[in-house]
Symmetry: C2
Subunit: 460 residues, 2 copies
């Protein structure tokens, strides 16, 4: 009996997790080929802003496993191989590489093509079809290297960097550019960290302003001021001009599924694939990672939350199930996320899970919400930093619906306590009275998350 | 109708939480009297080692609410009032104060007398009935002030401090004395942090040794070497002598229930009271805080875990229920706790929840256990510190049974994620696949607690 042919498209977290897990589960009876359009594999995209900030010695440090390591594990990893079509009758994938068009058969196929940074039309020179000079996203290792060059070209402690977008990458790139000494302006359609409600977003904005970042909210970038093919300013929808030597495209990502016949695969309106909880998409075809939507655990609705955590888990689930069907199930996403903004006098940890007020309303879930202010440690300790915890719960059954945290050192990871509560369908009362840890360097005697839960419970 | 008379014995966390919560719930129809043997109220005993270390400006900073604040809230707070007996027929409490013996009637009585540091016979001069000079516990604000004087009497960066006991207070006092520059020896009957299993305890011991602390395990202090009423050394059970200018008594605490007729109240063999989940102990009598045992949430067994977190919660529950019966229930304890050892080159956060291997065996619970090593942050970040997570789970149903964590900054509070899982009866699989937060400064892409859960799940 010949080996089962597993073909994986995409060699980042989801694809390589699937490949390795399948090999671990199946052993030598499996032949694994991975097609990767770029020359990079298994790298931490989340680490790129910190590389740009100067915290990480080099792009190599962001690579969790090298191509050599993958190949040593027995994986036929092919770089520069861009999948262009799937033939589901013939069970083949067509791809382009340096030698032209290739066709490869499979018994099991994993689609893990990830996502690409959104690049708006205004960022692209219609003449050349390329981005204007000085305008770039922050998604790939190549992007990271390009940003190091771009920033190195600016004067030492000067140069104007405009960040288009105020989400995770936007805030992290504002930190990186500010710490490098540049003038930074963040321009966002709504507000910074718009996955937080306006009240907690305002705390992040205030911290960014205190660090000297200019923040423009409620008006997106709509066009560039360009001279000689190079950006020199941006215009917002309100017509305001902001001078710019460099522009960060931090406008989100979009799934790399354009090569698929999406009409014939379960997928959402934004092009995200919609696999079953076991990772299967169609007969013999699996999908995982940033090219996929996922079910929200609280609402059951499909949602697009492309994060490395999900990609790793989904890849592992697919790699297990394609060998031993039905072993693992993806339990859905809560929208848990964390970041920080640390520059100048500001150090803020920012985290959220579940639904915010807007998302709850959109899902038809009535919520009560309350912001509780407190301290990350006992007030008499030098470790004590301010922290604000916003909790959302259902007035009818007291169930937690979401949480947002903004605060000093130790604030952010507290979101995991609430996420774990949410995962189990806990009420605010459960959270308020459970047995969490306390010592003066780490919390107040009533842990702030529990004070927040108790206060909200008393108001429901 | 005259006001209901609430009498509270003990003016620290449990008693004052009960008093204030009862007033908030009942309003002016309640007359609250609190008897306190000392002259202190509502202070953070947990903060005393940090005060001694020099992190806290003064003992006043440890007082959450002053006597004046309690009195301004309408509480008749009586200092120097030591309860000596309860007459359950007459519904009266007899107490001693500066004016002699007093008797006070009550409609509702709250026993919140707390606990006292264990002082072994060897620490006491049989002639005077007082502790030898240089030998003192660390429990009350007076103890804290005494320790500042004792340490100030030692030569600048010298003097030999022996800590008898290797638990939370022992480790914290070793940190305090070491940071002040003294020679420190910790002597413990079993091992340091014996609420951890030996494998994780060994990591704490190694960290303490790296900071220059001498650690003597497996042999308790059994007698002192005394000259002129002042300690100058200790002897262990093995007969070894360790020179000592000062000796810290860090041997645990015992409930202050000696004045009660324990034969006629629900109580354990160690003298801890055993209230119902609503806080009631007998008709019209309630109990809360360090004078009580509590039900372990996992085993249902009575256990003595005197911690400020429980005292605050139990006090609040009693204060609510004595006005509006049956409103709140104490959900039991998991044994969640956290501390740190930080001195010299060592910075270790130490936390645990649930049962350790010894406790599980004693409860007849079969467990599998696994230590997983990882990083508090992505490996390429400067925030990355080693962390070891030990998880225990039941092989039959995969349910979590306990966790222990030792690691660098950000390690300890991760215990709350496991404690929340335990609170909800989660399996290691639940924990492994739930949606926790990730960004490079805060965790690896697979959060270490989830790696630990996944690895253990795969072995069950």
């Amino acid at each position: 009996m010949s080996a089962i042919r597993l073909l994986v498209i995409g060699a980042d977290a989801a694809g390589m997790s699937a490949a390795h897990q399948a090999l671990r589960t199946a052993g030598p009876g499996l032949a694994v080929t991975v097609l990767e359009a770029t020359g990079d594999t298994s790298y931490s995209a989340c680490g790129i802003p910190y590389w740009i900030a100067g915290d990480v010695p080099g792009g190599d440090a962001l690579v969790a496993r090298t191509a050599e390591q993958h190949r040593a594990a027995g994986i036929d990893l092919r770089f520069g191989a861009t999948a262009t079509a799937i033939d589901r009758q013939a069970d083949t994938v067509t791809y382009q590489d340096a030698d032209g068009e290739q066709v490869l058969g499979y018994d099991e196929l994993v689609i893990a093509t990830g996502a690409s940074a959104v690049v708006r039309d205004w960022a692209v020179d219609p003449g050349t079809g390329r981005r204007y000079a000085g305008v770039a996203p922050v998604k790939t290792l190549a992007d990271g290297a390009a940003w190091l060059d771009l920033l190195a070209g600016l004067p030492g402690s000067g140069g104007r960097v405009v960040v288009a977008g105020g989400g995770y990458i936007g805030v992290e790139m504002a930190e990186a550019a500010r710490r490098r000494g540049h003038e930074v302006t963040v321009i966002t359609r709504t507000r910074v960290m718009s996955s937080l409600d306006p009240d907690l977003s305002a705390r992040v904005e205030a911290g960014m302003r205190a660090a000297g970042v200019r923040v423009v909210t409620g008006s997106p970038v709509v066009r560039l001021d360009v001279a000689g093919g190079r950006v020199r300013g941006v215009y917002t929808a309100e017509g305001e001009r902001h001078p710019a030597d460099l522009v960060v495209l931090a406008l989100g990502v979009t799934p790399n599924t354009g090569f698929l016949d999406l009409d014939k695969l379960p997928s959402g309106p934004g092009g995200g694939l919609r696999p079953e909880p076991d990772g299967s998409l169609a007969d013999g075809i699996w999908a995982a990672g940033d090219c996929c939507e996922a079910r929200h655990r609280l609402t059951g609705a499909w949602t697009y939350l492309p994060l490395g955590t999900h990609a790793n888990k989904q890849g592992r689930i697919v790699g297990t199930n394609l060998v031993t069907p039905g072993t693992l199930r993806f339990g859905g996403v809560l929208g848990t996320a964390i970041t920080r903004f640390a520059a100048g006098p500001t150090y803020l940890e920012i985290a959220r899970t579940g639904l915010n007020e807007h998302e709850a309303a959109a899902a038809g879930i009535e919520v009560a919400a309350l912001v509780t202010e407190g301290s990350t440690a006992s007030g008499y300790m030098s470790e004590a930093d301010p922290i604000a915890v916003k909790l959302l719960a259902s007035p009818s059954d007291h169930r937690l619906v979401g949480a947002q945290i903004v605060g000093g050192r130790g604030a952010g990871k507290r979101i995991d306590t609430v996420a774990t509560s949410l995962w189990h369908g806990a009420t605010v009362d459960d959270l308020a009275w459970s047995d969490l840890s306390y010592a003066p360097p780490f919390s107040t005697a009533w842990e702030i998350v529990q004070i927040a839960a108790r206060r909200l419970a008393e108001r429901l």
